[in-house]
Symmetry: C2
Subunit: 371 residues, 2 copies
């Protein structure tokens, strides 16, 4: 068999993730692999946890990356916190809310759905009503930043409502972490998961998570074992836990963790609030340019996610043709619509290292030609 090494084409990643990865992070990935129980590696793990606490703004001891993509982070939250028969209020305003429902059902939970239009934020009043109607609900779950629509929901208020009704909450922060204001402790978040490949701008493959003491109490006191051995936090904790003593659970993705570590070092250098501000600033620049091109947003200004701009495909444009032209003529990848929004919107990502003024300008001038 004759095979050649793979050389990826040059691309500017302006889709819903992965975002452009900085050379510093790519170089970190190429450092020599060492053992997952090497004392030097464990030190790096501790630094990673410390920096993730910084990024999530939390003192939660159980803050770490799951050794698999965001979907596995979602599953880690639901598989550990939902026991068979548990009633979970699931807010659906896009693809990832739908996926949450799937997760609840598959682990034997009962999902009570709060629906909102795709492109709208989760309606806190509906959530409150659902909790009044379902006093036996144990968990409220929602997506902070819906990657499929570009809408941001009021995570602080939704967690307040859940807490008031004695429920735990599970928050999807895949696209919000490091891109939008997010305060795990201040907002009373119990379980949260994100992805490495969005506003942290590391390569895909890891899912940072964090759990409050209440969440830990729930999964350490389960009546039935977690169906997933790989994601059972009772076991994962032994590897990512306190102190120098670590028990082997699975082999951590060593080099990918080097990359995440470097991306977090870069975040601490920039400063978390500066990162939020940069995402907002470049979003405004894009918004103004799109407006001049006559391209309209799906989401109302008040709940628009700066790092994910979902816009209606202009009537005169052919979806696939424009995206092909952007990729082939300009090396720019933008995202297509997902689920019900396929063929209706484009998703222009300004996440992490992609969120720079020159990229906004490149994208605008390419779009001007392609549409």
């Amino acid at each position: 068999m004759k095979m050649k090494s793979f050389t990826p084409p040059k691309r500017l990643l302006m889709g819903p993730g992965p975002s452009d990865v900085h050379t510093r992070i790519l170089n970190a990935m190429a450092r020599q692999t060492i053992g997952h129980l090497d004392p030097a590696f464990i030190e790096m793990m501790d630094e990673t946890k410390q920096m993730l606490k910084y990024a999530f703004i939390t003192e939660n001891e159980l803050t770490m990356p799951i050794s698999a993509p965001g979907s596995a982070g979602m599953e880690a939250c639901f598989a550990n916190l939902v026991e068979p028969g548990d009633k979970v209020i699931v807010c659906i305003n896009g693809v990832f809310g739908t996926r949450m429902k799937e997760n609840v059902i598959r682990v034997g939970g009962v999902a009570v759905i709060v629906n909102d239009d795709w492109g709208k934020p989760v309606d806190p009043e509906k959530v409150e009503q659902a909790l009044i109607d379902n006093p036996d609900a144990k968990i409220v779950s929602f997506v902070h930043a819906e990657t499929s629509t570009g809408a941001i929901s009021d995570a602080k208020l939704l967690c307040e409502i859940a807490n008031k009704h004695g429920c735990l909450n599970i928050v999807d922060a895949v696209t919000s972490l490091a891109g939008s204001e997010l305060r795990v402790d201040d907002w009373g978040i119990d379980a949260i998961y994100s992805g490495s490949q969005k506003c942290l701008s590391a390569m895909p493959g890891l899912s940072p998570v964090s759990f409050s003491d209440r969440a830990i109490h729930k999964f350490t006191h389960r009546k039935t074992p977690v169906t997933s051995w790989f994601l059972d936090l009772n076991l994962v904790m032994g590897y990512w836990g306190k102190g120098a003593k670590r028990a082997y659970h699975h082999t951590a993705p060593v080099n990918t963790l080097y990359g995440l570590h470097e991306s977090l070092v870069m975040l601490t250098e920039e400063g978390l609030e500066n990162s939020w501000a940069r995402h907002k600033k470049n979003h405004k620049h894009l918004r103004d340019g799109l407006s001049k091109l006559g391209i309209h947003y799906l989401v109302d200004e008040s709940s628009r996610l700066p790092q994910l701009n979902s816009v209606f495909i202009p009537e005169e444009s052919d979806d696939a043709k424009v995206r092909s032209s952007l990729m082939n003529d300009f090396n720019i990848e933008i995202g297509s619509g997902l689920g019900d929004l396929a063929g209706i919107i484009w998703r222009i990502g300004l996440m992490g290292h992609t969120s720079r003024k020159e990229n906004v300008e490149l994208c605008l001038s390419a779009l001007q030609e392609a549409i």
Copy 2:
């Protein structure tokens, strides 16, 4: 917060994995991240599938890497193939057989255990007897190469027995793939999983798997959904499936897949059988040297795994002290004993890129000083 980039120390990885990663593979990891639905990426996925078929010696269309470490590959096999109530013969002769049992139980299966001493291969007669005693068994599962003990079992014979009794089989090939003879189609293997970080010498984080048509039939005709959404092969197939059309399921770990692709290119360059032979040759060299040092093997010669040499800790040596000395004075990592064998054995890995004559010599001379 002041944090510095991480620079791993120099190590020679002679433990149970990860093994040393070749510079070519490390460099591949550092190539620019592109989208997980980019046409160029999909071409690379197809090449990866093709080369994995070569490595497994199979025509199975569903041959691909799971986007998480070997433990998740194991879970993908059990979670998809075992339905609640299914009886599974689980052969236990080390840590990873025990983990298989955990997997069966957690997804609601009934595990019938066939025990063998740790360090011995699985006894085919006991497996046959278990099948006679349990005519309703649906699956036989065993570990081809037990990473915790260094024993290899007769996968061909065990699959024959399972097939004769109308059972599917699940085979753990984490440590055997590319290091020892393994023939998925010829041996009638139905479901198999491996790891990227052993004899393929790529970085940890991926689990190559392969499924026969019989196995696919089983999980496409389940009565109950797979409890894991992330590992549900009915969905994963849509992303790794046939042709150019791929549906988004999760975001693939793009750069880690570059690394696996490069490791497979290197395997095709060397030739699979040459790789097996190299592992055997360097093992013999190590064995002869250990014998001169008076160090004895746990496993009988007939079932010794060339890529994982488990040896008794000499009576006069202190386990932790010797391993520390190897790491601190010689930059060599060897493995400690796992589970019941902790404190009793060391595990010296000669996997993938680590399996070279100069490493054997370095290890022997370091051991001579350290013990």
